[in-house]
């Protein structure tokens, strides 16, 4: 048992709000949890050692933050800014388009309560220890509801900034009604030695369409544990991109649950890790019904002493005939001291399915490198062009141009900095 967890359980006792009944159940489960160790399969390659020397403390020190840091040129978004768990945005002052309602988790409207009733802990019923921690402690967050048939052009962005040595827990609950369309951006940033958990649950109704981004861009010393969970209704469509870097410990769980037939989910993931950073992505694709499609592409570059863990699980239930599921994880290892643990996990219980998975860890492509050198391009420039190209492909697949234009140079600069011979 870790001191931190004992402390969490202690603190959870004093959280009293409208979600208390559900939180109570989570707390009961949490109390029976073992602190994950090396032999806990889901944490096998990710050590929780950083929790032994945790510098972050709960409690919001209302730090003044320059919101320009989060400005993205050309992105006209509705921003909800959290700093250390405190909502800085006055939701009532936002002019929301018809069909979009946003509520703070601690000031829910009646409608928001009903959304939470369907979504909170419902999209992902089985949660790991930190998911449960978030269940019991996350009093800050938003509830977003997109009404049936509403098409919301303006992206909704939840900015979650946690400053040095602060611990914070944030929750995002989203419901897209029938034939609703929306773009949601989870923009997380942990500074210094911050520690935060941030979980989001999405419920997509019949023919709903969600464009989703999650940016987990943390400082090298930050600890970040979170997840985005999606429940796909019939004929719904998801296009999601997750980008991560930084963190001495970063663990993200993405779950896509096909609950209705003929849903389509596309999930791209990019990670660029340097120094001693650690990034762990566990994705779980559940095909519970027939005729669903999932395309998942995770690509990462690992340099220095950094470590990437990728666990991609596809579970095709016996009834889920005609499922089409593809999962691919490509890694480029730039340094001999870097480490990549990649593991696709297929569990297929239906016979009429198309399922492909692959995981590769490559070093530099010598043939392509030679081709570029033979055209006079310098070695260092060729390396950047080659190795960044494979990540750039996924950046280019992001539907939102402003986000592409913002991310491309950001990641490229980071890559140039981590280039090792």
């Amino acid at each position: 048992m870790s001191q931190w967890l004992a402390d969490v359980i202690d603190r959870a006792g004093s959280v009293q709000d409208w979600l208390s009944p559900v939180r109570g159940e989570a707390l009961a489960t949490l109390q029976n949890q073992q602190w994950p160790g090396r032999r806990t399969e889901a944490w096998r390659y990710t050590s929780l050692h950083p929790f032994d020397a945790l510098l972050a403390q709960p409690g919001s020190t209302s730090a003044q933050v320059d919101s320009r840091e989060f400005a993205i040129e050309g992105l006209d978004s509705l921003d909800l800014v959290f700093v250390n768990g405190e909502l800085q945005t006055d939701i009532s002052s936002l002019s929301l388009p018809t069909g979009l309602s946003i509520s703070a988790l601690d000031e829910p409207t009646d409608n928001a309560r009903s959304v939470a009733g369907q979504v909170f802990t419902q999209v992902k019923p089985e949660r790991h220890l930190f998911g449960l921690v978030n269940d019991v402690l996350a009093t800050s967050g938003v509830i977003i509801d997109i009404a049936d048939g509403a098409s919301i052009e303006t992206p909704v962005r939840v900015i979650n900034l946690v400053t040095d040595k602060v611990e914070s827990h944030n929750r995002v609950l989203v419901r897209l009604g029938k034939q609703a369309t929306a773009t949601v951006i989870e923009h997380g940033s942990g500074d210094g030695a911050s520690m935060n958990t941030a979980f989001a649950e999405y419920q997509l109704g019949y023919e709903a369409r969600l464009e989703h981004y999650r940016f987990a861009l943390h400082s090298a010393d930050a600890i970040h544990i979170g997840g985005s969970h999606f429940q796909m209704g019939e004929k719904s469509r998801l296009n999601s991109t997750l980008v991560g870097y930084g963190s001495q410990l970063s663990r993200l769980d993405v779950d896509i649950h096909h609950a209705g037939e003929h849903a389509f989910a596309k999930f791209n993931n990019i990670y660029l890790l340097a120094e001693n950073e650690h990034f762990d992505l566990h994705s779980t694709i559940e095909h519970a019904v027939p005729n669903g499609t999932t395309e998942e592409n995770a690509r990462g570059i690992v340099g220095d002493n950094a470590k990437a863990v990728f666990n991609g699980r596809i579970h095709i239930h016996p009834d889920a005939q005609k499922t089409l599921a593809e999962l691919n994880n490509r890694n480029l290892l730039l340094s001999r001291r870097g480490q990549i643990n990649t593991k696709p996990e297929l569990e297929i219980y239906a016979d009429d399915v198309q399922c492909a998975h692959g995981a590769t860890v490559a070093e530099i492509d010598d043939e392509a490198l030679y081709y570029m050198l033979s055209r006079g391009i310098s070695r260092s420039q060729a390396l950047v062009m080659l190795n960044f190209g494979f990540v750039q492909e996924l950046i280019e697949q992001m539907p939102n141009k402003a986000l592409r234009d913002w991310l491309q140079p950001k990641l490229k600069t980071r890559f140039e900095g981590m280039e090792v011979k």
Partner: protein, 254 residues
């Protein structure tokens, strides 16, 4: 002399492929190298351009007075050596445009010229595209990504046109092309013949030489040039094939 190769020996994985090759090329000359599969034609191109694993065991190659084997791959290209690949490499994720702009500017920088701006380069690239009959959309695609065999060959010629090298080695730039595409490639090459630029045209068939008139034709077999002549030698090869080489090559070895 543009290029002077003396007694070149090279092996791959410990197996000797080039076994004492001599070749002299003056500025403006076009030399065709013909020969059966496996003779070592591509190996020669790779050794000259400096591919890893294709280093010379012995012998020399002087390129415009410099010792070619002292230079890195990119330095050889910057010095004006260009190899059109038999099998151009696909590089998904790097656009053709970005790739060519980087190479043109890397070579310009070496020559002391200012880099071309994006719009200057685009203008040149568009012209080159037209010259090799590739739609402009090919500039935006990943380098050779999903290109057909013929499109890849034309893309190589486009690069040659943009890079303005001194010595062009074309490794089977004709293979897999229909007659129209063959003409496009040949016209591309001929447009670059300016009396100073030299060419090594490697081909398995005589066909390409109907369009690109060589000054000299060499037959490469078993790692050596076994016969040299003028353009008529290519015609002879077309009639007789390479079967006679068996005896000839052994003769040369003896």
């Amino acid at each position: 002399m543009m290029l002077s190769i003396k007694d070149l020996h090279a092996s791959i994985d410990g197996k000797e492929i080039l076994k004492g090759l001599n070749l002299d090329i003056k500025p403006g000359e076009v030399h065709a190298i013909m020969g059966p599969n496996g003779a070592g034609k591509s190996t020669l191109g790779y050794v000259l351009s400096g591919r890893d694993g294709y280093e010379a065991d012995s012998g020399t190659a002087q390129f415009n007075g410099a010792d070619l084997f002292d230079l890195e791959v990119e330095e050889r290209a910057q010095a004006g050596l260009f190899l059109a690949f038999q099998y151009p490499v696909e590089i998904p994720g790097v656009s053709n445009m970005e790739f060519m702009k980087e190479s043109v500017n890397a070579i310009r920088e070496k020559r002391g010229d200012d880099p071309l701006s994006a719009s200057e380069f685009l203008k040149k690239a568009k012209e080159a595209c037209k010259q090799v009959d590739l739609p402009l959309a090919f500039l935006k695609r990943g380098v050779n990504e999903g290109f057909s065999g013929g499109e890849k060959k034309r893309n190589e010629i486009m690069q040659m046109i943009l890079l303005e090298p001194n010595l062009c080695i074309l490794d089977e730039s004709d293979s897999g092309l229909d007659v129209d595409a063959l003409q496009v490639v040949a016209n591309g090459v001929n447009s670059q013949r300016d009396g100073k630029r030299s060419f090594i045209v490697v081909t398995h068939y005589q066909r390409l030489l109907d369009y690109i008139e060589p000054d000299y034709v060499h037959i490469l077999a078993d790692g050596k040039i076994v016969k040299s002549g003028d353009a008529s030698l290519a015609k002879e090869v077309e009639k007789t094939g390479y079967a006679w080489l068996g005896a000839k090559a052994e003769e040369a070895d003896a």
